[in-house]
């Protein structure tokens, strides 16, 4: 097992270097002069040239890529043009916020999706099943940025139930930073008021972000449940007089949960992508919003760093999912 993890981690590093190479290559085929962009519209030619040499942009792409990788190994990801801070510091500030949002959304999707999928299977082709399936097909078709806006419009602006955006109210004192996740930090410092407020700020963004994942989890869980419920051992359990609720929760769920787990891993990646949209709508200061601002102003260092960090987290999650899979199901242990 340990050997397997090490092998996967080494493979991951190569994948990430490949990812960097691709983003590097694409950005260099692109038209436009990065030095001029970095210098700003009012810069003289002389200033542009100086910046070009300063940033090493006059060197060939392979050299620059090598320089980038060696800086990366030293923990330097460059400087952001729009925040004027080191990209590493920016990421340390924004990434925990995004992670918090995504974890909340995953929790939302699983806690709602699994029971709904089960209910759909249990009431197959009856009214609850039809409404649950409607939710499932709508979930993947709804633009999450638009859903976020509509939730914001109705639940925050009209009904004033939830805050409009951000992570905390302006007047609320910030807990001391330990993990960077406000809910965790406020609990660690024993500040329940702040915790409550942080959770309150997370509800609408995670709801919007979790919808596609919720929809897929419902779908997979329902289909797997239906298949499992037709198996002989379920029939046997039924014949033994075990109640329907216990059959669904204790017997069928166990087998239906594995494909759901695989789906969670897949959807985690989609959610990381979705943060770009949802963070923009709720003005939530995470890497998604950071990446969008960087992309709009062609700010290269943050863009490539965000790609790297999100790619790495996606790969790590998939590794974790595979390992959990192996722990839960001895049949797949030999395969990975």
């Amino acid at each position: 097992m340990g050997q397997l993890i090490v092998r996967r981690l080494i493979f991951m590093i190569f994948m990430l270097i490949g990812l960097m190479a691709i983003v590097f290559a694409i950005s260099n085929i692109a038209p436009g002069d990065p030095a001029r962009l970095a210098a700003g519209p009012d810069a003289t030619n002389e200033m542009v040239e100086r910046l070009r040499v300063e940033r090493g942009l006059d060197k060939p792409i392979v050299t620059r890529f090598a320089v980038y990788l060696s800086n990366l190994a030293a923990g330097d990801l460059g400087t952001s043009l729009h925040t004027r801070r080191a990209v590493v510091d920016d990421l340390a500030r924004y990434f925990p916020a995004t992670l918090e949002l995504v974890l909340f959304s995953i929790a939302f999707a699983v806690l709602l999706g699994v029971p709904l999928g089960m209910a759909g299977a249990a009431f197959q082709n009856k009214i609850p099943d039809h409404s649950i399936r409607f939710l499932a097909v709508s979930g993947v078709a709804l633009p999450m940025f638009w859903l976020g806006l509509m939730l914001q419009w109705y639940l925050s602006l009209e009904l004033d139930l939830f805050p409009l955006g951000g992570r905390l109210g302006i007047m609320t004192p910030r807990p001391e930073t330990v993990t960077g996740m406000l809910t965790v930090d406020s609990l660690l410092s024993g500040n329940f008021g702040t915790f409550q407020e942080a959770v309150w700020h997370l509800v609408l963004p995670s709801l919007a972000l979790s919808l596609p994942a919720l929809a897929s989890i419902i779908r997979v869980n329902r289909a797997e449940m239906l298949e499992t419920l037709n198996k002989d051992y379920i029939l046997n359990a039924r014949a033994q007089g075990i109640g329907p609720l216990r059959i669904v929760t204790a017997y069928a769920l166990k087998n239906a949960i594995l494909p759901t787990l695989a789906m969670i891993g897949l959807r985690f990646g989609w959610m990381l992508g979705g943060t770009v949209l949802v963070e923009g709508v709720f003005d939530y200061p995470g890497v998604g919003l950071y990446a969008t601002k960087a992309a709009v102003s062609s700010d290269f260092d943050p863009i490539i760093a965000v790609t790297l960090v999100l790619g790495a987290s996606f790969m790590l999650v998939n590794l974790l999912i595979d390992l959990t899979y192996a722990l839960l199901d001895p049949r797949v242990r030999s395969q990975i």
Binding site: A30, V137, G274
Partner: protein, 314 residues
Amino acid sequence: MTLAESTVPKPMGTGPGDDFIAPETDVAPVDRFREYRRMWATFRRSHSSMAGLFIVILFLLIALIGPWIVPFPEDALGSIHLDRKLQPPNGIHWFGTDEVGMDIYTRVIIGARTTLWIGLTITGLAILIGVPLGLIAGVSNTWIRETIMRITDIFLSIPGLILAVAIVGALGPGILNAMIALSLVWWPGYVRLVQSKVLSVRNETYVEAARSIGASNFRIIFVHILPNCMSPIVVKASMDMGMAILAAASLGFLGLGAQPPYPEWGAMISIGRNYLPDWWWYSLFPGLAIYFTVLGFNLLGDGLRDVLDPKQRS
């Protein structure tokens, strides 16, 4: 897959094989017709598939004749009528008007054409890049396959939207660059799909038979292997139309895709959000348009999958 089944999914790309006289082609036309009828009967039984087909046809129709049915054609690409700005939905302006008095109904209808064009371009480019690479990776056994598959893995190792944002960041915002970026992140899915399909059919008896009578690699790929990959490609393309439309609208919303006043639904919402909550109709209607279009393509894709590729059903 048996020989009888293999004659079924050959709706396209069979051109070069028609001159080849084999027993199977003698009976194929009759069987194929019956097969299509059976598929249609299955498709028709599902309400959701029919709803999807209906939405997609309606969408195509609107995209096709949109410019001739809209009440205010001059608002399509941007005009200013400050005397009727930000009016709520009414008898003249069904979906209300925006901040410079353009009719939102007109712009949503015209936006269908933009959306169709974007969806077709992204899906089309992704197929044009992904399918040949998948075929090559599937039939070759050398370093070529390794290279293609590893690069595909790298592209699939990061959320597509993030990579697309990164690429647009490098290319600069704009609808064309957004489309290029999305096509660049979309093709790897087709490589995976086609490669795995090729691997599963390339050792089938009928491929071996063709090889043993001296058919060239080219012929084997295009006459025997590719037609068998068609149904999963068609199913994926239908699903991807919806997803590509959603992704392009997302980039438009972020200000990285179509730029206002270009009539694109995502870009309209990105302006409209500044006018919430009082002028809610500005962002409500373009969003509904995206939702129904994507829903239509997804339902159609589901229906096609159930008919063409029942084994893939989840």
